[in-house]
């Protein structure tokens, strides 16, 4: 069951690299939230009930509901629903994503030992690369934000691989989620779009030498 969820998570990562509509990005982030909830339930069941319920509640409310809802609201407010046409094509994105998956698998194979769950490590690495690809290759700020959320989900997944012994690490990851995501999403929604009147990162060029 755990493996099935992780495979599903990998599929969402592949899919997110080829979609072009913002609504799909938000849906995939929501799906990832639900998958992470399932993984947390299966992986961390041995934790103290108080810690487990905190992690589960956070994952459910925050990752699966609030963040996707905020993304949807951003889409509604900005009336922009597609990535910039100047970005790379879907085919190139797919190739790049598969290359990232291959690199992650190879690296995982190279570092394989008993101390870390290699499946979690490999998928987290793939999530990190996918997030970075979204940030580097896409020009819209919205996609950058989604890229950051993908990285954060990957880090959260990896923290679950180690966090069975060290719940403080998972709690720290949750803190990262809540503090930064809310602030970034909130700031994007209320300030950046309102004042700069653009969703294109190419326009963010006032601050330079």
């Amino acid at each position: 069951m755990l493996l099935s969820l992780i495979i599903l998570y990998v599929i969402t990562l592949i899919y997110i690299s080829i979609v072009e509509r913002f609504r799909n990005y938000a849906s995939i982030i929501a799906v990832q939230g639900w998958i992470l909830l399932g993984i947390a339930l299966l992986r961390l069941h041995s934790l103290d009930w108080l810690e487990l319920s905190f992690i589960i509640t956070e994952t459910l409310i925050f990752k699966a509901v609030i963040v996707p809802a905020i993304l949807m609201r951003v889409i509604k407010n900005t009336h922009i629903n597609r990535v910039a046409t100047t970005g790379s094509s879907q085919f190139n994105s797919l190739m790049l994503s598969i290359a990232a998956l291959t690199v992650s698998a190879l690296l995982t194979y190279c570092v394989a030992d008993q101390t870390i769950n290699m499946v979690f490590f490999g998928v987290a690495l793939y999530a990190l690369l996918t997030g970075l690809i979204l940030i580097v290759l896409r020009s819209r700020i919205f996609t950058h934000m989604v890229g950051f959320l993908v990285i954060e989900n990957g880090v959260f997944l990896f923290s679950m691989a180690i966090g069975v012994e060290m719940p403080i690490l998972i709690n720290a990851a949750i803190l990262l989620d809540i503090l930064i995501s809310v602030l970034m999403l909130g700031m994007f929604m209320t300030r950046v779009d309102k004042h700069i009147h653009t969703d294109d990162s190419d326009s963010l060029t006032h601050v330079k030498d």
Binding site: C110, L128, A172, L183, D209
Partner: protein, 466 residues
């Protein structure tokens, strides 16, 4: 015990959000700084346990940098009051509240003895720093704040991945630095290397070194100048200490030589970037920020060379804090006079504010490491250690780049003092008392250049003993 102080500091900081008059804000700031002075007094007097709670301890490194922070913060608060006195009360109270919260978060980073707590508090500095950056509410401020939040958050998430790997390599539930130092000796070298790279990359946004140095430059550009003094010293020192503690973890592992090579590469690239971008920018605040990148590059080279270089690196960071905070405070006064920072337009400062101009020229001498600058000692020590280890190529690179830095910095500061001014002047804003107070910090640095007290050298000796 430290938790009581944290509660006091946070309460005062949060209260400032509710203040209705400037007088109340000033009183809160005075109380806040008094509380810090009391805590510093307790630390100096030795009437304090070496550990507080399970997450904080008062080692030499934390204490030294904390004392430095308190001194610099007093000047920053005083200059901020003068700098922002014409702004509306809403912005004014928000600024001081965030400044207090940022100072508290930085204090926490200095004393944290747990790698996860360091990480959490560094993330907190991002939140407080972002609020300060947003002070002007202009498009540039929004853009800088957005970039700061985005890059710092991504960097911190990457650092967290490194911490996870480090903990996995240690195969233990303790995240205490002392425990980790023992446990990673037999850790998987590949994990440890990856962990170090990830943590270094993530924290580089705080220490203002390659690769994420740009965000520090943008932050200093957008923040009010006195706050930039805090970002360029207190926060940069927090980033340095966070990296230094991880660097120390590797001291007894077979990977130390590799770690030092990485620091050397990062240091050289930072020095290259700092030296070249100093020439390119047309804004005095960005100019000083690139100078921070250059100096932190030298610090990283010191850590990379090892031996006496590590001692020199710590000494360099301490003295840089005095000099850079003074320069930023001087630039804050310059902004009051010209209402801008444009290098190619403003000038004739020597005839407008002689005290301030002399302060800037003395600061120029100090930041360029000309004797009696304390940076001369640290740079000389780093170069002599490089020579002793046969790495003459490092000296060659450093000399070439430092020549570029010397030419550029002299050219820019002399332009500010002597070139004909083309911008409108606001002479009523000149407050020479502030120039004198900023010079005090420079004098403190110059005293350290001429005489290093035994207590300071002993503390640095202990800091660099692994």
């Amino acid at each position: 015990m430290i938790y009581i102080f944290f509660i006091i500091w946070l309460t005062i900081g949060a209260s400032a959000f509710l203040a209705r008059s400037r007088r109340t804000i000033h009183m809160l700031c005075a109380t806040y700084l008094t509380a810090h002075a009391m805590f510093a007094g307790l630390l100096i007097g030795g009437k304090y346990l070496s550990t507080s709670g399970s997450f904080f301890s008062f080692d030499e490194a934390g204490t030294l940098f904390y004392l430095l922070l308190v001194v610099v913060a007093i000047f920053i608060f005083i200059h901020s009051e003068a700098y922002l006195k014409r702004d509306d009360i809403g912005n004014y109270r928000r600024y001081f509240a965030l400044l207090m919260l940022l100072t508290t978060a930085i204090t926490g980073v200095y004393f944290a003895n747990n790698i996860a707590v360091t990480w959490i508090l560094l993330e907190t500095t991002t939140l407080c720093g972002a609020g300060i950056l947003y002070y002007r509410r202009s498009e540039a401020a929004i853009e800088a704040t957005w970039k700061y939040l985005f890059v710092c958050s991504t960097g911190i998430a990457i650092a967290y991945l490194g911490i996870l790997l480090l903990c996995a390599a240690a195969s233990n539930s303790s995240l205490n630095y002392e425990d980790l130092q023992m446990l990673i000796i037999n850790g998987n070298p590949l994990y440890l290397k990856a962990a170090f790279l990830l943590v270094l990359t993530g924290y580089s946004c705080k220490m203002e070194i390659f690769p994420l140095y740009t965000i520090g430059v943008d932050a200093n550009f957008a923040a009010p100048a006195p706050a930039s003094a805090l970002l360029s010293t207190g926060l940069v020192n927090a980033g340095f200490l966070a990296i230094f503690r991880v660097y120390k973890l590797f001291a007894h592992t077979p990977l130390m030589a590799w770690v030092q090579n990485v620091m050397l590469i990062i240091g050289i690239v930072s020095l290259v970037v700092g030296a070249l971008f100093l020439r390119r920018t047309n804004n005095y605040k960005r100019f000083l920020s690139y100078s921070t990148v250059e100096n932190m590059g030298i610090v990283a080279i010191g850590l990379g060379i090892g031996g006496v270089g590590v001692w020199a690196a710590v000494f360099h960071v301490i003295c840089h804090s005095f000099i850079k905070s003074s320069l930023f405070l001087h630039i804050a006064i310059v902004r009051q006079v010209y209402d801008g920072y444009r290098i190619n337009r403003i000038g004739d400062y020597i005839n407008i504010n002689k005290v301030g101009a002399i302060g800037l020229i003395v600061g120029m001498v100090a930041i360029l490491a000309f004797p009696p600058s304390p940076l001369f000692i640290s740079e000389l020590m780093i170069m002599s250690e490089a020579l002793a280890s046969g790495a003459w190529w490092i000296i060659a690179i450093m000399v070439v780049l430092l020549c570029i830095v010397i030419f550029t910095v002299c050219h820019r500061f002399i332009k500010l003092c002597y070139q004909p001014n083309q911008d409108e002047l606001h002479l009523s804003n000149i407050d020479r008392k502030l120039s004198y107070s900023a010079i005090t910090l420079l004098l403190a640095a110059l005293v350290l250049g001429l005489w290093q007290p035994e207590i300071l050298t002993n503390i640095i000796d202990k800091i660099v003993t692994f």
